[in-house]
Amino acid sequence: MRWPIFLARRLAALAAVLLVASFLVYGLLYTVPGGPMSFLLGNRSGTPEQIAAIRHQYHLDQPFLVRYFSWLGDALHGDFGQSLVYRQDVSDLMSTRLTTTGLLVLYATGIIVVAGVALGLLGALRRGPVDTVVSAVNSVFLATPPFVVGVVLVVVFALGLGWFPVFGPGTGFGDRLYHLTLPAIALSLGSVGFLARITRASVGEELGREHVETARSRGLPESHIVRRHVLRNASIPVVTVTGLTVAGLIAGSVVVENIFALDGLGSLLVRAILQRDFAVVQGVVLVLVTAFVIVNLVVDLCYSLIDPRLSPGEAA
């Protein structure tokens, strides 16, 4: 199997997963107690004519599958309908928040990968006191919830030292990154500790492998061995964990968004759920699912690039 076929297959699988997910996302909302009608009516008990009029306005009088497909068709064009609460297009509500959350998650991912791998390597390669200190730091990172980290960061670096703004997303790319620094750190610390542990274990295991012994028996310098024979071999679990973490960050950013008063996708979703704003919930969840599936695809592609045994290259 060659790369083009491999990619085509993966993309087809991705489309199938998204189709199923969209069906579930759309369908589940109609099975929740109350359903859309009770929300639209509120506390009023409308006359049968009024109910019929509302049902018609929201196409609720049509069969479920018809409604699903028309919603799906619109969604493919970026039209997720109108928010029942804000009377605004869902896509407009999402677009600015998507940028904020997307930047935040990317920023946090960068921190997680760089700091997590660096700490893990440090622990694995320098056994002894350094390893002990690194492990202790990782445990603290892992055990501290993001909202605590967020509050501490605000108190120390924003209010105390005044290095960073207290809240808000900022304007322009540089200013945004500046504003997002503390939130990204708050969001990433726990995952940094987690990834560092995985990296340490994986690198430690790889250092004891037979092929590393071969490299040593050939008199190659230790730094060369780590670069050429340990890092790449040890990176499969690291990539897996990074992928899962990033996917989790997208939904988990809501806490951090609240602390730093960032109007992101997470806060929008939580509010929409509380207000039973169906169109918004559907739209946001679909975006999250898409991001999740794409992250997984990227992880799978990384596997194939890292390990030739998993790659679609020509067989012997």
């Binding site: 050939r218 008199g219 310098p221 060369h224 030739p308």
Partner: protein
């Protein structure tokens, strides 16, 4: 100055086993290898033969303690600093491992494996290294070298991989090859081919070899001299012909007679009774005495030293008896 390339003098290897406890794996091993000579080291699993070979390169388990003296070309290996040890491993002594599939990095190409050491250790250009690697692959009987260089270990059979390993060792042009059970993981038919390739190329290039194997027949066919190890000690050293003709130690005799022969069918195949013991399990006296058919009460009293008997070196008090 000695004429020997490698001299092991009362080599002792201990590994940590819990709190302040040490386990002896190799005990009092003395052995020499002359330039160009092939010496076999034979014994059962756990006899310490593999650890003896690894000690030469100081590829011992973490925390292990080495005693005695290892001298290679008149330099003391145990006193080398990191840099000199790397130089020794890079240019003078090379090792062939038992499991090529585990001992070659699975995510890098064969070409990478063959050229890496040349480029890093011998400062060859990638082009030179590539050309030399293809030549060496042809030498070890792999004709479509250019294609193989692009492939990865999982695309090659075990026999081919071991040939690749041999080619990589030849690339460094070492003075001594340590071959640790190089054919044990292979099919019987591939075994003899791979061994023939290794032996022939080694002779052509005048490299000495220390062959570790449990197959005394294989050692006899390829080596000039053979040392037999039991429980971390050498119990007998003789030239290969003399050992197969007239083994002196009862253990060597047992090893030789427990080999199946194609000429005559024997039922049941004679075996050495009992279980092989490691050095740290051995009791006072001769470690082989509990399994020995001709042991006397005297055998369990004092551990017999290795002594010269008619051109052989044997560690048995009854070696002179026929």
């Amino acid at each position: 100055m000695s004429e020997d390339l490698l001299v092991l003098d009362r080599l002792r290897l201990e590994v940590p086993a819990g709190r302040r406890q040490w386990r002896t794996l190799v005990d009092d091993v003395s052995l020499t290898v002359a330039p160009g000579e092939a010496v076999g080291l034979v014994g059962e699993s756990g006899s310490g033969k593999s650890m003896t070979a690894r000690s030469v390169l100081r590829l011992t388990p973490p925390g292990a303690r080495l005693g005695g003296r290892i001298s290679f070309d008149d330099t003391s290996v145990l006193e080398l600093g990191t840099r000199e040890l790397r130089a020794l491993r890079a240019r003078r002594i090379a090792m062939i491992f038992q499991e090529p599939r585990a001992h070659i990095n699975p995510v890098r190409s064969i070409g990478d494996f063959l050229t890496e050491a040349q480029i890093t250790n011998l400062s060859a250009s990638p082009k030179q290294a590539h050309a030399k690697a293809v030549r060496l692959l042809a030498d070890v009987g792999i004709t479509d070298g250019e294609r193989r260089m692009r492939q990865h270990p999982h695309e090659l059979s075990g026999g081919l991989l071991q040939r690749v390993m041999i080619a990589s060792v030849l690339a460094a042009e070492p003075d001594l090859v340590l071959a640790d059970e190089p054919t044990t993981a292979l099919d019987v038919t591939t075994q003899s081919e791979v061994m023939a390739v290794l032996d022939e190329l080694r002779r052509d290039r005048g490299m000495a070899m220390l062959l570790i194997t449990h197959d005394i027949g294989l050692a006899a066919a390829t080596c000039d001299r053979i040392g037999v190890m039991y429980a971390g000690r050498i119990v007998e050293v003789q030239s290969a012909e003399a050992l197969t003709e007239s083994p002196r130690h009862p253990y060597s005799r047992g090893l030789l007679s427990s080999r199946p022969s194609l000429d005559r069918v024997v039922h049941p195949l004679p075996v050495v009774p009992g279980r092989a013991v490691a050095a740290f399990e051995a009791e006072e006296g001769c470690a082989f005495a509990p399994r020995c058919a001709v042991s006397t009460p005297e055998c369990s009293a004092v551990r017999p030293p290795l002594r010269a008997v008619d051109g052989a070196h044997v560690a048995c008090i009854r070696a002179e008896e026929p």
